[in-house]
Symmetry: C2
Subunit: 459 residues, 2 copies
């Protein structure tokens, strides 16, 4: 295995490029995995890319092409002659072609579709028709299909004849003449069976499948839940139209996790890796949320302003505002994140609302009371006794501690309910995370604070 | 496919249990996938579990057993006779046995190891020796190994002879007599080759592999990056000792993502699904963080207290504290989460510190200035003009807006640097997310606020 981490290899590559030692470079690159070659090519000057790419053998070149960033793919396609483009397209799997097409500008798409063979063009157009987040949009139309009356020997013949172009031959699907899915046979079962066995007798008939319009995230979760290598996808009429392979399912799961992370930090999700996103693009994905949250914070300002007089009298109360809103925000985001993650792993759904809220209530009471006790001790020992703050009377300490209990309670209940409600009305629950919860909890905790102050301090 | 979502199926199951129609129940369950059977069994009363489990055919029973929660597995093991335990253990894959053992109390572990066959016991003990987060701890020792001088026909014979027990036969590994890894052959290559071809001539020799002590998360990432179905694992001497299969890699990736989500919300990670975690367990995973963050908020309280007099004079400033600390916290957590996610997807490492900070600085200046401008307009139009607040003078507005710019800048720089520094010193970067950043940024923003107030308002 070539060690790419330490940079020595990269230096050798750069040296060979410098000295134009193309055959040596070709031999060196051919030793690597497509993902690594693509990473190396992207480090080199852009104008070298078409030349270097042409060094690679045809099949490897196509695999490297799939791994590249859209910008580099576009650059290459523009540099290709029509024959070259045709050659690359022939080597690509249909689902990869679709992925590339989705990222390209219209002129490039037109050129790709012109040079794809008619069958590929048909498949691509079909997949492009499915909604963006559907199983149909990530499936490949290339799979091995067998008939129920074939023998194992026939099956192997068919696999050998058609298998070269199939993305996965680990699972073969059995269909009838009108392409309805009847069952599946793994290559393992075929290998362990006798040559004369009939497919119908050895196939599994309880097939778990997805439909073309199903959410791709659910399909990915199911692949993981059942430990499948591929999931068959059927259309409305129950006809097998494609399969979702495990590698694409993993990509979906990673993308969805990244999207959740971004939404939870109030960032509009982008597909690009961090360092490849431009400054203005990053600003566009972050600024609107900051603006929205900043303006919503006006509300907590209003609450404070309306109690300005009381605060002037009891100025000791001001210093505890960040602690109270902060603890509220943290409590709320703990609950919301736990529920958001549970939702995206399909461990929780809206039907669990009651048990979730009941659990959070109990957790909130215990956490709130213990936090309040700790805080009371800290106020008495540190603020009153050590720092000799005469304003910190027992009633003031009580106001702070009671506010803490109520704030933690409200924060946890709001925090666990909002993601569930968001899911119910079709929003992404991840939006209901920390920043959003904090803004709501800020207002709530201030209202609770001043209510207790009015009650106990007579403000 | 049986629809489990709507509950009708579950009702039928419960009805059959009630009426003790065991053969019917058995036939019904046998139609399902192991993951679904396990879900159904866990819904039924616990005392029924051993009886219902015994209805299942042996091989399916083992697969269902693997899918169960540790508590249920323990209950079953305790109800097993020695012969039954032996039978289940024979059907399990070694890595699954290890997973189960890791969750069981010592007495149960002892019984399991007593009844496992000597070879399994040896493998289990070997895997148990590897550190918890290593590739060794998640690998299976069952794989198909071929010799370089075998023909394709020999290879198929070997697969047929040994394949029944192997977790994956999709990739076969070629080793020499001292078990050093020489290459690999996919079942696809074998199927497409001639029977007389020699393995050495068709095997791939540039094998990407992992070592037993490598971090399991990195191995999972590599499996995903290279689109592999399995990754060979070698020991220090380069001998092939096991493989990590894609289904286990997916589990690792999901676990790590969940762990990141939890750490980022200041929750100590647990392995259990949300609804299965008890109230006290949830409290234990959340309370220490809330306590720590609450006590750290004392610092921001101190800052406010030391400016209490100035605030008494310019009480209009108090109302903007939540907006300023909130915007700072949100800006910081955007940057930290972007960097944390980049780190865990291996898109960024510590070497990128400079480019990350430089990017965040530019983003921060643009975001900060635009937020400040929007806020200035809002202060002038809403607070001064519409709400006729006489205290809101131009200097006060300037203090607020300048604080906003500086706070956003500091928050973004701190937010992007802390996860990178944490990674460098070996801490989990995810800890440096929202709650932690917010606490630091609270103090920073207040210091900046009062500094500008002193400068421009002469406090």
């Amino acid at each position: 295995m070539v060690d790419l981490e330490n940079g020595v290899f990269m230096e050798q590559v750069e040296d060979l490029v410098e000295r134009k030692r193309w055959p040596d470079l070709r031999d060196m690159l051919c030793l690597l995995e497509p993902a690594d070659i693509s990473a190396i090519l992207s480090e080199l000057p852009e104008d070298r890319l078409p030349l270097l790419y042409r060094l690679l053998p045809k099949e490897l070149a196509a695999e490297v092409f799939v791994e590249m960033e859209p910008e580099e793919q576009e650059l290459l396609i523009k540099s290709f002659s029509d024959t070259e483009l045709k050659e690359v397209l022939e080597e690509l799997y249909v689902d990869d072609t679709v992925d590339i097409i989705e990222e390209m500008p219209a002129s490039v798409v037109k050129r790709i579709l012109q040079h794809a063979d008619p069958e590929t063009r048909k498949s691509v157009n079909e997949i492009l028709k499915y909604p963006e987040d559907s199983a149909g949009s990530i499936m490949t139309t290339e799979f091995v299909d067998l008939k129920r009356d074939m023998t194992v020997e026939d099956a192997f013949k068919r696999i050998r004849r058609t298998g070269v172009d199939k993305e996965t031959i680990n699972i073969c699907y059995v269909t009838d003449t009108s392409r309805h899915l009847l069952g599946l046979v793994s290559i393992r079962t075929l290998l362990l069976a006798d040559e004369e066995d009939i497919i119908e007798d050895i196939m599994e008939t309880n097939v778990i499948f997805a439909t073309t319009l199903e959410d791709k995230e659910d399909v990915a979760q199911d692949l993981s839940k059942y430990d499948f290598l591929a999931m068959p996808v059927v259309d409305k009429e129950g006809r097998l139209v494609g399969i979702v392979t495990i590698d694409d399912a993993i990509d979906v799961m990673e993308e969805e996790a990244t999207e959740d992370f971004e939404l939870m930090a109030a960032i509009t999700p982008t597909d690009k890796p961090y360092l490849r996103t431009g400054v203005m693009e990053t600003v566009r994905s972050r600024l609107p949320w900051l603006m929205l949250l900043m303006l919503s914070a006006t509300l907590s300002g209003l609450v404070i302003n309306s109690f300005e007089e009381s605060l002037a009298t009891y100025s000791v109360l001001i210093g505890f505002i960040p602690m109270l809103t902060g603890t509220g925000g943290n409590s709320g985001s703990q609950s919301s994140v736990a529920v958001i993650r549970g939702l995206s792993l399909n461990e929780i759904d809206f039907g669990d609302l009651f048990s979730v809220v009941w659990k959070e209530c109990r957790v909130a009471v215990i956490c709130g009371v213990l936090l309040a006790c700790a805080n009371f001790v800290k106020l008495m020992v540190v603020d009153r006794w050590l720092m000799q703050n005469p304003d910190l009377t027992i009633p003031v300490a009580l106001v702070i501690c009671l506010t803490l209990i109520c704030t933690v309670f409200c924060a946890k209940v709001v925090g666990c309910m909002l993601p569930l409600l968001a899911e119910k009305v079709g929003l992404d629950p991840a939006v209901m995370a920390s920043p959003f919860i904090s803004t709501i909890v800020d207002v709530l905790s201030l209202l609770i604070y001043f209510a207790f102050a009015a009650l106990l301090l007579g403000l």
